[in-house]
């Protein structure tokens, strides 16, 4: 029996994986600061002297699209949108340093500044903590300005600075919690020129109309590959019929 059927099935599986990644992107079309996954299909062939007549295909997530999402103004003093390719350093669940574009910040009851995922945001020396009950604003350079509500006439005090990093020239990839990490471990240095826009949020960079097109094309490709499996089946039946000895 010919191996064509296996090649075609690998294509079907790849199309289903592709559809799943598109579904995951679409589900996150309204997650603040989300970066959509990019899918890449690679032909898999064995290196060797033989003729490359068959290439199985394998589809996988190659990385994330770092295109900027649209920025909307919210008027909330703790919402920040990062400009350019800047990213915000946060403390991941395992205690390591991860990077995110998600800037819907809030102050926890203990005074720790967290982002919308509930991860503590890092400053010059670890997580940023503000005195409980103080009025917090974020400056465009990431400065954390704190005002004591008891003395509203005093100018705000600069307490710390959010760690903003530039990802230019570094390879970053998503970890399993969806945060970005430096590939192979390590941390990025503070970028003095990174800026953010206070009182605004960057939306997800998933574009709904793009999703529709990707979805339909993945669906149709799947259907074609299904057809190919069917064709392989018919060919196989044909050759089996030829070999049959009629009594």
């Amino acid at each position: 029996m010919d191996r064509l059927i296996y090649t075609a099935v690998s294509g079907m599986n790849a199309s289903m994986t592709r559809e799943r990644v598109i579904a995951s992107n679409m589900a996150n079309a309204q997650t603040i600061g989300f970066r959509k996954e990019i899918i890449q299909a690679t032909p898999m062939t064995l290196e060797g002297p033989q003729l490359e007549a068959r290439a199985m295909t394998s589809t996988e997530v190659r990385g994330a699209s770092m295109k900027e999402g649209s920025v909307t103004s919210t008027g909330n003093p703790l919402d920040v949108a990062l400009d350019g390719d800047a990213m915000l350093a946060v403390q991941a669940y395992d205690g390591g340093e991860a990077y995110t574009r998600r800037g819907d910040l809030s102050v926890s009851v203990t005074g720790v500044i967290e982002n919308g995922e509930g991860l503590p945001v890092l400053g010059d020396n670890g997580p940023v903590t503000v005195p409980p009950g103080s009025i917090v604003t974020i400056a465009p350079d990431g400065g954390v300005l704190v005002k004591d509500p008891a003395t509203p006439q005093d100018p705000p005090v600069r307490l710390d600075r959010l760690k903003l990093v530039s990802t230019t020239g570094s390879q970053i990839e998503k970890d399993l919690a969806g945060q970005f990490r430096v590939r192979g471990g390590g941390v990025l240095p503070v970028d003095e020129n990174a800026r953010l826009t206070p009182e605004a949020l960057e939306q997800s960079n998933v574009n709904a109309s793009e999703v529709l097109v990707e979805m339909i094309s993945a669906q149709r490709l799947f259907d074609m590959r299904t057809k190919l499996v069917d064709t392989a089946k018919q060919l196989d039946e044909g050759s089996a019929r030829l070999m049959r000895i009629d009594s």
Partner: protein
């Protein structure tokens, strides 16, 4: 895992559905005194590692990246947007609005304290200041029957003119509770909030001091829901819901096609 794409699309549908509920609740409360709108927060669900990065692809090469497949989205929480609603004059001298931070304290049945910014108070049959549900304001203020006019200053001092006396009599002091993290208060029914571990304990003080808001007599704070903003969010949610449901039918058709063809 042929149905996993269906499951991922379903998480999207559910999250949009919940966001729609939040928006509907905001719109329903557009006329509720001192209501604060909620914002739904989406969070990416954990990724599945279909293959560990660095696993051998052959004896000589390793895969550069893991195959991280997203598993969808969930509504993680809602954030109450604590912006001030506009103050509207009602002319009723027992209507109180807070201009700035803080909450009135109210004795709920069962002895628990409730916190509210809705200051539409009335007098009970015993002369106590109570909310429209009949819950007493704390600290308790009692207005005698023969009081003619009640004045509540911006710092919460309550005084009244008693018939037959030339000078006004002071009846009590209204205090305001503030919280380290007001977003952590648990919303309960009838405009009341309850203290939680996340909000921290109530810090009681005089209105207008330490960043607490001042009291404005004869006014009420309107809801801070902006109808136009909610409608835009509603349309956005509706469209996302539609595309997510299209996603489900697309995967369904793929499976159907495979079933029929093979």
């Amino acid at each position: 895992m042929p149905s996993s794409a269906l499951q991922v699309a379903r998480t999207g549908l559910e999250a949009q559905d919940q966001r729609m509920r939040v928006i509907a609740n905001n719109l329903a409360n557009v006329g509720t005194t001192a209501f604060k709108r909620d914002r739904a927060n989406f969070a990416t669900l954990a990724y599945q590692d279909a293959r560990v990065a660095g696993a051998d692809s052959s004896t000589e090469t390793t895969y550069a990246t893991g195959l991280n497949l997203g598993t969808g989205v969930a509504i993680q929480s809602t954030t109450r947007m604590e912006t001030q609603g506009s103050l509207e004059t009602t002319g009723n001298n027992l209507d109180l609005a807070l201009d700035g931070d803080g909450y009135f304290q109210v004795q709920l049945p069962g002895g628990q304290l409730g916190y509210t910014r809705a200051g539409n108070f009335t007098r009970s049959s015993e002369g106590q200041l109570v909310t429209s549900q009949g819950y007493a304001l704390q600290p308790s203020i009692t207005v005698p029957d023969n009081a003619t006019s009640i004045t509540i200053s911006t710092d919460g001092t309550v005084s009244a003119q008693i018939a037959g006396q030339s000078d006004p009599t002071q009846l009590g002091q209204i205090t305001v509770a503030s919280f380290t993290n007001p977003g952590g208060l648990q919303a309960s029914s009838d405009n009341f909030m309850l203290e939680t571990a996340a909000s921290g304990p109530a810090q009681i003080g005089v209105p207008g001091e330490n960043g607490r808001g001042q009291i404005r007599q004869g006014m009420l704070e309107a809801s801070n829901v902006n109808i136009v903003e909610e409608l835009v969010d509603m349309i956005e949610t509706q469209r996302a819901y539609e595309i997510n449901s299209k996603m489900i039918s697309a995967v369904d058709q793929m499976l159907q096609n495979a079933n029929q063809t093979l």
